[in-house]
């Protein structure tokens, strides 16, 4: 089957090249049939990629170790869920996933626009096919996922234990869907530029794709943060790691793009800005894909030395140069049809929000690439740490949240100060009340930045609530509907607007969680023996007993050995039990002893968290296995050639020894206030984005009408 998969990729590459060529030829000569042929070729590329992906997936499921990729990234002992997802934990497999998603997205958008945008689609087809060809080229030329081994090993290496977390396995496809999704508006922007049709048509056709891409990318980033919080064992959710930054940058610029295209749709302004933004977003998305694979920047996530760094760099440079040249050449066509009337208008605030978002992305870009920049300028490689990022991004984030509240309620063109006062009065009063309450009842004043963020969050929520209230009460007056019905109808009729409000509320809530948990976190590292206890804040934690499980850790990661602790936590008259553990995975290193091999491989923290709306209690354990070192050595010497079941007996004896007489273990406890609201805010924003992206009944109607008139036109021209 590996041969079939390989052939699929080669044929897909040729088909993609044909698609690009046919679309360009059809576009230049005005031959529709060639463009249609190119479009259908893109469908074929998608189908071939799906077939290749299915073949690879089935190889993983069957644990067919004659595939190099399966032998490296999976094993028979890997749980089924992680077998499925291990495909994209490998370099080659993730490239295939990228190409497959691109094929599907491109087919969807080309199918939807097959009867419209006739000037633009040939070029958009060519761009999408070109990008797909690049990824297929990488696989066919260097990173073929269907490489086979001459002698299939008995057992594979298994999936990297750190990646055995549900959030981590869904996170990459989410990110890729986001990255890939942004290639759609990019392709149509390029098409619009080449065809000299820089109106809002390309935006209307691809706006929804951009929104979907934005939603997936945002969800992916959040899942990554969740993984970091609950798997990496350090207790934080964001470390300004290059790989994290690489996913955040396109998201920020994409956010700016989603806002500024509204200005172009409504007012015919910012055309140059919009095409520049989408080109930047796409380049950053490619950069994100590239950074994970290149090894040019040091990261905790670390990258394998790769053979395709140069190719990526060439491709990114080519995209950058071509799009910049194209924008400059087409500048005369991109003149605005309107001017900014007043600074007190929605478009002015959208522009401001754009500048803040781009500034944020710029700060992160600079910090991420600072090692390279400083080496180029001063000759020594220097890095900037999280404090630097926090210091520069905090003020920008605060301004951003404020704009989140003001922007959407301003009118287009111009707003009178008196109507602004009317709209902002209630939210401002509410914010003032919150401020007074915070100062009087809590210690929020200890961190000025957080205090400002709390107030601005309250402001945004008040603005959004007021908008919903106003809209729904207007409906009630007109229709006499009950509140829930009026609210539902209101949202259903204006999905973009009220979905947008929800997103804004969600983002504000998310920042509330970030501000509270970063400024008021309490942490303690202690070493305890069973029976001892420590206090952190209002919590009293007691180490009840040690645990040692074999072959069945509670989170289903397939770890053979799991040492942990049972901890009784008391807060006031409330008690609960946490069971943090540490999983040990065996090492494949033959130079290690037969028994020590089981302890010397990877080890991962299985954190236990008491989730709460007000605060999380987070607990990790690090059992000290140094007391087992001597018995392990002895066992190594005595049972070097022991059979598997004897080894299992020895391991069980060692585990029992740890359980019955545990040495002191190291614990890290964290009390993180309001951290749950990061995930809740993210979920609200996700919901809002879904509402905004869902097709409205009117839009459906319009599409049906457009379809009919197109058919009618065809019939008439035939007649």
């Amino acid at each position: 089957m590996a041969g079939v998969g390989s052939a699929c990729l080669t044929v897909a590459l040729l088909t993609a090249l044909f698609a690009a060529g046919a679309a360009i030829y059809g576009g230049v000569r005005g031959r529709r049939e060639w463009v249609t042929s190119g479009r259908r070729a893109v469908y074929c590329v998608a189908a071939l990629c799906v077939a290749a992906f299915a073949i690879l997936e089935s190889a993983f499921l069957r644990s067919d170790f004659s595939y190099k990729l399966v032998a490296e990234g999976s094993s028979t002992s890997t749980p089924t869920f992680y077998k499925i997802t291990a495909v994209w934990a490998t370099q080659d497999g993730s490239l295939l996933l990228w190409a497959t998603l691109l094929g599907l997205f491109a087919s969807a958008v080309l199918f939807i626009t097959r009867r419209s945008l006739r000037d633009i689609t040939p070029w958009a087809t060519a761009v999408l096919a070109g990008v797909a060809a690049f990824f297929l080229f990488l696989m066919v030329g260097w990173e073929n996922p269907f490489d086979t081994l001459a002698i299939a090993p008995q057992e594979g290496n298994g999936l990297n234990p750190l990646l055995r977390h549900p959030a981590m396995m869904i996170h990459p496809p989410m990110l890729y869907t986001g990255y890939v999704g942004f290639s759609i508006p990019f392709a149509f922007a390029i098409g619009a530029l080449i065809a000299r049709r820089p109106g809002a048509d390309w935006i209307r056709a691809t706006r929804r794709f951009a929104l979907v891409a934005w939603t997936f990318l945002g969800t992916g980033i959040l899942l990554g943060a969740l993984w970091s919080y609950s798997e990496l064992g350090w207790g934080g959710y964001w470390a300004w790691d290059p790989v994290e930054n690489a996913s955040l940058m396109p998201w920020l610029v994409g956010t700016a793009f989603l806002h500024s295209i509204m200005v172009q749709e409504k007012r015919g302004m910012l055309k140059v800005w919009n095409v520049s933004l989408i080109c930047t977003t796409f380049v950053l998305a490619l950069l994100g894909t590239f950074l994970v694979r290149s090894g040019i920047l040091d990261s905790i996530h670390a990258f394998g030395a790769s053979t395709i760094g140069v190719q990526f760099l060439v491709f990114i440079s080519a995209v950058l140069i071509l799009s910049a040249t194209l924008i400059i050449v087409r500048l005369p066509d991109l003149r605005s049809t309107a001017r900014l009337d007043s600074l007190l208008s929605r478009e002015a605030f959208f522009l401001l929000n754009n500048l803040v978002l781009v500034a944020l992305a710029l700060v992160i870009l600079w910090g991420t690439f600072f090692p390279l920049i400083s080496e180029a300028l001063t000759g020594t490689e220097s890095t900037v740490g999280p404090p630097w990022f926090n210091r520069l991004t905090t003020p920008l984030a605060i301004v951003l949240v404020l704009l989140t509240g003001i922007g959407p309620v301003l009118a287009w063109r111009k707003m009178t100060p008196s109507s602004l006062r009317r709209i902002l009065l209630v939210p401002l009063v509410f914010t003032a009340v919150v401020l007074v309450a915070l100062l009087a009842l809590t210690n929020a004043a200890d961190s000025t930045a957080s205090l400002i963020m709390f107030c601005f969050t309250a402001f945004v929520l008040a603005v959004v609530a007021q908008e919903f209230w106003r809209g729904a009460s207007a409906r009630r007056v007109m229709t006499g509907e009950a509140w829930p019905r009026a609210l539902a109808r209101l949202m259903g009729r204006n999905r973009r607007r009220y979905g947008g409000y929800l997103v804004h509320a969600g983002i504000a809530v998310l920042f509330l969680g970030v501000a509270a948990s970063s400024a008021f976190v309490e942490q303690r590292d202690v070493r305890l023996s069973p029976g001892e206890s420590f206090t952190l804040g209002d919590y009293e934690v007691t180490y009840r007993e040690a645990t040692a499980k074999l072959g069945g850790d509670s989170s289903g990661t397939g770890a053979p050995i799991s040492f942990g602790a049972v901890m009784d936590v008391r807060k006031g008259d409330q008690t609960f039990t946490l069971r943090p553990a540490r999983n040990f995975y065996s090492s494949g290193d033959p130079s290690l002893g037969a028994i020590s091999r089981f302890f010397e491989g990877e080890a991962t923290s299985e954190v236990d968290v008491r989730w709460g709306l007000r605060r999380d209690f987070w607990l990790a354990v690090r059992p000290d296995i140094s007391s087992l070192e001597r018995p392990i050595r002895e066992a190594d010497a005595k049972f070097a050639d022991a059979a598997g079941d004897v080894q299992a007996l020895i391991i069980a004896a060692l585990a029992e020894r740890y359980r019955s007489d545990p040495p002191p273990a190291a614990f890290r406890a964290i009390v993180s206030p309001l951290v749950a609201w990061i995930w809740i805010g993210g979920a609200i924003a996700l919901l809002g984005a879904l509402v905004a992206a869902w097709p409205t009944p009117e839009a459906r109607l319009r599409r049906v009408r457009a379809l009919y008139s197109a058919r009618l036109g065809k019939e008439l021209s035939r007649a």
Partner: protein, 131 residues
């Protein structure tokens, strides 16, 4: 104000903001940065962020939280002893690449508490276990 002057003013404000941000970026990043160095490069009296590999068999635990090990250049044999206390990241092992900040005192690199970062073995390729 007539529109063209207004536009110029706006442009001026925007450019000033951009220049301010750029200056802040450059200034703060160079002043806040720490040098990434190799174990063979460090000298006493200066703080460093050292990137290197843990020398095989050099890890020793002493006391509760204290850890001693040696790190060497990524591609070299010259190594320096490290005294570290604090949290040890999950993937810390012989031969792993680590980043640690601190200062050289009497021939030993004394690391700041909790400053140890271990690079995980690559997500995409199997770790070369014993390199």
């Amino acid at each position: 104000m007539d529109p063209s002057r207004k536009r110029k003013l706006r442009l001026g404000v925007a450019l000033t903001a951009a220049v301010l941000l750029a200056t802040a970026l450059i200034y703060t990043s160079f002043s806040a940065s720490t040098e990434a160095s190799k174990p063979s490069e460090i000298e006493p009296g200066k703080s460093y962020e050292v990137t290197g590999k843990v020398v095989h068999g050099s890890i020793q635990k002493s006391g509760d939280d204290d850890l001693r090990f040696r790190i060497r250049d990524r591609d070299g044999t010259q190594s320096v002893p490290v005294a570290y206390s604090g949290v040890v990241p999950d993937p810390f092992r012989d031969g792993r690449e680590v980043i640690v900040s601190g200062e050289l005192k009497q021939g030993t690199f004394v690391a700041e508490r909790d400053s140890l970062v271990t690079k995980c073995p690559s997500k995409f390729t199997k770790d070369e276990q014993s390199s």
